[in-house]
């Protein structure tokens, strides 16, 4: 094993179960793409399957997670927040990774795979910019060309992240078609990929898209759940948490977290964006309010009009501003193995401030939804005295200016 200056290298858990057939999770998943992309997806599926069971790939990936990304991340016991809420709260600290969110776990794996497939360019979509920054980071590290598609609306509200991506050598292309947000950035990334697939890998940032992405990205994020399970057992005298909570947009941090707890008795809770409220029609709650459909290559749950047009999502957090969800979440919801609830923009803002004020940790607006939901449900849906693990998927620096403005602060 390669030497590391960081102490013990991350220990990867065993690979998880592959979806059935052509990427099916129950009735969800699949590979609904133009013919031009099919050969590349078959190549990617074969490459990932081989890599994910090969000792040298896993050793290299574990080394990158350790001395580049800074894993393992800690689980932090939140004493003041626990006192406040009357439940015992543990936070899985993905905010402490390099680039500041769980997205790095996925992109390091996909960049390594890109290199193995002999491709020299990666493309990515991004909403808030976290996945774009993570992809640009991995591209710089591996010497790959990188193009990031970002909705024009998001380019405007995340100017700093756009600059960071360019600093890292990536080309950032504003997408003005459709609603000019994450969904449209994925559309344009797919349009680019159809033209460039021979030398380009599409580094999808969540557990969405055609097979093998939902499976591959879950596997590359399962280190979150695998670590958290072992760490929780240390803190909870060998027990698992009663409840495991994570926010869900496309659902990669939640799926990575849940993967570590599927075979435990823990309640799994995904928190979607309720935006202005579920009744307002302006939200991103695709499990709670979506219907089965096919978009971006997968059969899953999507927000749709009466005649099957995809609707725009709304959330205060760009990362949850997506009208669909990964197919494995749709299957977990159908099987009732996981439950999905939602938190509004205002509840997320309350969670943002609560965690900052009680623990000195400023969360990204995405996991602030999970905190906000817990704050609302502690003593109700989450009985007093429960032990709760929340995945803090990213840090809030990127959102500070937006939240300050929303809360009426004068930054001068």
């Amino acid at each position: 094993m390669a030497k590391t200056a960081r102490g013990a290298t991350v220990q990867l858990g065993a690979p998880g179960v592959e979806p059935e057939g052509l990427g099916r999770f129950g009735e969800f998943g699949g590979r609904f793409v133009p013919e031009t992309l099919v050969p590349a997806l078959i190549e990617l599926e074969d490459a990932f399957r081989t890599a994910w069971t090969s000792d040298d790939f896993r050793a290299e990936y574990a080394r990158l997670l350790t001395d580049y990304a800074g894993r393992p991340t800690p689980v932090t016991e939140c004493r003041r927040l626990s006192d406040r809420l009357g439940v015992r709260v543990l936070l899985k600290r993905e905010d402490l990774t390099h680039t500041g969110s769980h997205k790095i776990n996925n992109v390091l794996g996909q960049a390594l795979l890109t290199q193995r497939m002999g491709k020299h360019r990666v493309i990515a979509e991004t909403g808030a910019g976290q996945h774009g920054v993570a992809t640009a980071t991995a591209a710089a590290l591996f010497g790959l060309d990188c193009t990031v598609f970002m909705g024009a609306v998001d380019v405007e509200r995340q100017a700093l992240n756009v600059w960071r991506m360019r600093l890292l050598g990536a080309e950032v292309i504003p997408v003005s078609s459709g609603s000019a947000t994450l969904k449209d950035a994925i559309n344009d990334a797919l349009r680019d990929w159809v033209a460039t697939v021979e030398d380009t890998h599409y580094c999808i940032g969540s557990v969405v898209g055609p097979h093998p992405y939902p499976w591959m990205v879950r596997e590359l994020q399962r280190v979150v759940g695998d670590e958290a399970r072992e760490q929780s057992r240390v803190l909870l005298d060998g027990n698992d948490p009663d409840v495991v909570v994570a926010c869900v947009g496309g659902g990669s941090n939640a799926m990575g977290t849940f993967a570590g707890f599927l075979d435990t008795k823990a309640r799994l809770v995904g928190v979607e964006a309720a935006g202005h409220g579920l009744e307002s029609g302006r939200h991103g709650a695709s499990i709670t309010r979506g219907v089965p459909g096919v978009l971006h290559g997968a059969r899953s749950l999507y927000l749709q009009s009466e005649d099957g047009q995809i609707l725009e999502a709304h959330s205060i957090s760009a990362g949850l501003d997506y009208p669909g969800v990964g197919p494995e979440h749709a299957a977990l919801a159908a099987d009732k193995r996981a439950e999905y609830h939602s938190a509004t923009d205002d509840e997320a803002l309350a969670g943002f401030q609560l965690l900052a004020g009680t623990e000195g940790i400023v969360p990204a607006l995405e996991p602030a939804h999970a905190i906000g939901w817990l704050a609302r449900e502690a003593g109700h849906a989450v009985p007093a005295g429960s032990t709760v693990l929340v995945t803090l998927s990213g840090r809030g620096d990127k959102d500070a200016a937006q939240v300050a403005e929303r809360l009426g602060a004068d930054l001068g």
Binding site: L22, G30, V33, E35, S177, V194, V197, H296, Q309
Partner: protein, 256 residues
């Protein structure tokens, strides 16, 4: 009238096939546009059902879809309108899969059959995911046209040609729909590969926008599909007359 038998008959008469694409619901007179391109010598017409997220389409057809949707176009409305067409060539709808899935396979297939539409082209439904839709379409004699790509390997190409109905849609290049300045080398190779493996009509589409390009592509296949160049005319304010005259030029070039 069925798409494949009609195209085979025309081809066996020595004609090169011409299939224009018209976005359904683009302008109040879109049905007249379809009639005009039929009168101008189309061998079949592809009617596009506008979708919110057309990932196979370039800017021209994206714009056409957005305009049609903004004007209130719906899949059911387009199909109902198309039922009013009394043209003497076969019609196919080109639709992304979600509207089909949303309506339900059986319901969507029968709505096409009831409207006198002979075929469906569903570009994001590859042969591996085809079974459920094909069963419903076959049951009401709606033909499903499959697409083949320059990257499709030979063994897969044979399967696609076997499963396709109506014709085989040979994608001319790696990319989305839209006019190009020249015919890609891949288009010619695509035509040759299709002709080598199937007797079904083989048409080349994507990036064919002039009579000269149509002739070049049709030389190695049975004909061409022309979309974005025609739609660009309509977006620029052209109507049935402009569309008819453009298709007439293509017809004359192919017949020369």
């Amino acid at each position: 009238m069925k798409l494949e038998s009609s195209l085979r008959a025309r081809r066996d008469d020595g004609a090169k096939l011409l299939v224009p694409y018209v976005t359904g619901g683009l302008g109040a007179d879109w049905l007249d546009v379809v009639r005009a391109v039929c009168d101008a010598g189309a061998d079949a017409v592809e009617i596009g059902i506008p979708f919110s997220d057309p990932v196979m389409d370039g800017p021209t057809i994206q714009e056409a879809s957005s305009r049609a949707l903004a004007d209130g176009a719906t899949p059911a409305g387009i199909v109902a309108d198309a039922a009013k067409l009394d043209v003497d060539v076969p019609l196919a709808v080109m639709t992304y899969y979600n509207p089909v899935h949303h309506a339900g396979h059986e319901r969507f297939a029968s709505s096409l059959a009831d409207a006198g539409i002979d075929a469906a082209i569903v570009p994001d439904l590859p042969v591996d995911e085809l079974d459920a839709w094909a069963a419903a379409a076959d049951a009401v004699d709606v033909e499903t046209v499959l697409l083949a790509s320059p990257l499709t390997p030979d063994d897969r190409l044979a399967v696609i040609c076997e499963r396709s109905r109506g014709f085989v849609y040979g994608v001319s290049l790696l990319g989305v729909t839209g006019a190009r300045t020249e015919v890609a080398a891949a288009a010619l190779e695509m035509g040759r590969r299709l002709k080598a493996v199937t007797d079904r009509p083989a048409l080349i589409g994507l990036g064919i926008s002039t009579g000269e390009q149509a002739v070049e592509a049709a030389a190695v296949a049975d004909g061409v599909i022309v979309g974005s160049a025609l739609i660009a005319l309509l977006l620029d304010g052209g109507g049935p007359e402009a569309a008819g005259s453009f298709v007439c030029q293509l017809r004359e070039a192919l017949d020369a």
